[in-house]
Amino acid sequence: MVFSSLTFLYYFLPVVLIVYIFLPNRITVPLGSDRHLVIPARNLLILLSGFFFYAWGEPFYVILMLFSTLIDYTAGRFMAKYDDSPAKRRLCLIVSVCMNVGLLAVFKYSDFIIDTVNGIFRSDITNPVILANRSINDVYNFGLSESRVALPIGISFYTFQSMSYTIDLYLRNIKVQKSFIGFTSYVTLFPQIVAGPIVRYEDVAAELDERTVNINKISEGICFFVKGLAKKVLLANNIGIIWTQIKAMDYREISAATAWIGILAFTFQIYFDFSGYSDMAVGLGKMLGFNFPKNFDHPYLSRSVSEFWRRWHITLGTWFREYVYIPLGGNRKGHGKTIRNLLIVWGLTGLWHGASWNFILWGLYFGVLIVIERLGWGNVLKKLPSVVSGLYTFLIVVFGWVLFDTNTLSDAGQFFKAMFGGNGLGDSTAAYYMASNIVIFLLCIFASTDLFGKLTAAFKKKKGKLYAGVTPAVTAAVLLLCTSYLVDATYNPFLYFRF
């Protein structure tokens, strides 16, 4: 299920929220004499609703998520049990990490690996997952994919989340979660299960046991949610149509202006799509009493590539920093090691986004640029006027999106050629796209700066009462507007479902 659907918004969400609000955190059932049964009612609801939410989109491979949860929970319990045996603790960690990485390897990268092997050795190996799917279909006719492995929704997110638990437990940063319902509700927490933010266990450990839900928090959550919904439905979907059309054109024929309009449209689409999703997740989290970490901070205002990655998909960057970069030694072991570590992290970041050379190259592209910034270029950028360094960073990112969203490296090459005028500078197609979409482009530019936030903050400060009165009206207006776009949804994808 996706947040930006009528099914979620008008059926799933009101039912779950209303039951949730009226449930206490725990229900104590007396069992006669002195014994009680304590049911963690809200966590149980989160678990059940999250399972339903996930299975709605992934009815068969929901078993992978349950499997991963079970292993990580058990690994955690054993780690706590053998607290004084470093070897046993390490074994638990290895089992957990291997299992999670193994799931990713099989369900995300196996096609890519097998294609590469087949390409090099001219062999004809069939993916075992496909063979398994075929035999399941033979018996049950579930319609599982028989040609390519279909990525189970959110697998890149939930495996990383549940690894954060076992790793932090091993590093003794957190305490063990003894309740199976408690741990499972962390993994299946529906606001963040399919597309992040990648909430580390540490971030919500306390709230899993004890949290409060009140009107102020719910109202704050509603504001976040509605803002995210608007970003997704009104901005990302509308500007995304332009890129879908231009992306489908023949790159050997499109003019420079058309290519730029196309890739700028994607630049805005992916930002509003993903940050909109994160805002919705943060908002839903607040309604349920959780505080999720921030995932985006106006990344297109960054003045260096390093800064961009501190403001874009922040939770993924944090994850790689905490669990890969720092354990590898970070920047404490001299220049050579630092550069190596940076390139490993960025290669992995690219690979995390998908199994293709485009993504790996895209990650390394940023890795190399960040290394260059470390070697002194960063200091030069700091001294340049912010317009120059800002524009530099923005262009780097836009070129990155070409690598990211064209299908093959040769497509990317042809697209770059078009962007630099290889097929002429402008034509009537570009003029038409610009003229008919100018309003949406201006809205996107405005919304990706921090102007809107600053204006509302100033408004709140100066006219507090008016602000308080306007908020519900804005909520209603945006919700109604988004509903009319959802009823007529001809184009409503979620980009980060692919990852």
Binding site: L6, G57, F142, G143, C223, T475
Partner: protein, 383 residues
């Protein structure tokens, strides 16, 4: 005191949010469910049935989501308000339809000349195998005739080029009927519907009159017709796609010869191999009271329709799209029998259906848009 105020605002915010989230689905549940959307001209999703198979292959979820969206309270009003908003923001295209000043026209895809060549070759083959005089008419659509009203640079293939290309590619046995000039020079008359993809009866009449010389009949002059305004409430296929209300509704006219109609029998074959259904008129008036009013001309598309009249004259075979439906009535004045076949609905070789050489003339009648996207003419090359 100040803190309390903020709480009241939060409370109102929550109440508004939840009120909407609860009211809309509850009202949806209470309203009766329709089977079809007349306005959008499409059938609506039925409540899906649940089984292990449909759950695991996700069909149940997909169908249920479509069901929810199809029956959502005030569905067409939501869509219309979106259209109004978008057009006020400068968007001039919706769901493949361009919105002009007082007219909707189709955004036609760029022609694929490989596909067009296949159609042309099949027609040439057909003409060489059957020794009957053949005529070909491709009618430009409103997107071409009113192209000057489109926003600058809007993608819109040049139909003149397509028609010229096709006409040049035909072999000797085919006489081309170029109605482009007559449509172009009468563009300020009411020759195309504003909300539908067809030409009006007047548009068809002009083409009929222009084609007379080559096909060998003297057209009946306009003053020999009584024009009946059969409906002035027509909102056609373009309207259904764009759901844009600000374009005036269309008037649908039926032209009756003053001297009276000579049509004896209209035989509609809905399934080949079965007996045709017989009617005594070319006008199916029941359709005037439903959404798809153009079907008042010879009904909805059928594989084969035969019109017999009491007139002297030869037999004509028409291979056509729906533009022929309001055109054929004019021809009944000059032929004793007209057979219309629609290749889109015929899956067998035409040879199993009829012998073209039983006819005195063959007319191909297509509008440029359906000709460009056509993949059925090539069936004529099948044995």
């Amino acid at each position: 005191m100040k803190k309390l105020k903020l709480n009241i605002s939060s409370l109102i915010n929550c109440v508004v949010f939840f009120a909407l989230l609860i009211t809309l689905p509850v009202v949806t549940a209470l309203l009766p469910k329709k089977e079809r959307s007349e306005m959008e001209n499409k059938p609506l999703q039925k409540m899906p049935s649940i089984s292990a198979k449909t759950v695991f292959n996700r069909k149940y979820m997909n169908d249920l989501e479509t069901y929810i969206s199809d029956h959502f309270v005030g569905r067409t009003s939501w869509i219309k308000s979106k259209t109004v908003l978008e057009t006020s923001l400068g968007k001039r295209e919706r769901n493949g339809i361009y919105i002009l000043k007082n007219r909707l026209v189709e955004h036609i895809a760029e022609p694929d000349y490989d596909s067009i060549d296949k159609s042309v070759n099949a027609v040439n083959k057909f003409a060489s195998e059957n020794d009957v005089p053949m005529f070909f008419m491709i009618v430009p659509t409103s997107a071409e005739i009113y192209a000057d009203e489109l926003s600058k640079n809007a993608p819109n293939p040049n139909q003149r080029d397509v028609i010229n290309y096709v006409y040049r590619s035909f072999g000797k046995g085919i006489t081309t009927l170029d109605v482009y000039p007559v449509m172009e020079s009468n563009k300020y008359q009411y020759i195309y519907y504003r909300t539908d993809h067809h030409w009006t009866t007047r548009g068809a009449y002009l083409a009929y009159a222009a084609a007379g010389k080559k096909m060998g009949y003297t057209p009946l002059p306009e003053d020999k017709y009584d024009i009946e305004h059969a409906s002035d409430e027509f909102q056609g296929t373009f309207y259904s796609k764009a759901l844009y209300d600000k374009v005036e509704k269309d008037t649908l006219d039926i032209w009756h010869p003053t001297a009276g109609e000579n049509v004896r029998e209209v035989a509609v074959t809905t399934m080949y191999g079965e007996e045709p259904q017989l009617y005594d008129s070319m006008y199916f008036r029941d359709y005037l009271s439903v959404k798809d009013k153009y079907a008042a001309f010879l009904g909805t598309n059928a594989p084969m329709v035969t019109i017999k009249s009491d007139n002297e004259g030869g037999k004509l075979l028409v291979i056509k799209d729906s533009y022929a439906h309001c055109y054929a009535p004019f021809l009944t004045e000059h032929y004793s029998e007209i057979t219309l076949i629609d290749l889109r609905y015929i899956q067998i070789s035409y040879k199993q259906l009829l012998n073209p050489e039983d006819y005195d003339q063959v007319l191909f009648l297509y509008n440029a848009s359906s000709f460009i996207s056509d993949t059925d003419l090539r069936k004529l090359a099948y044995d």
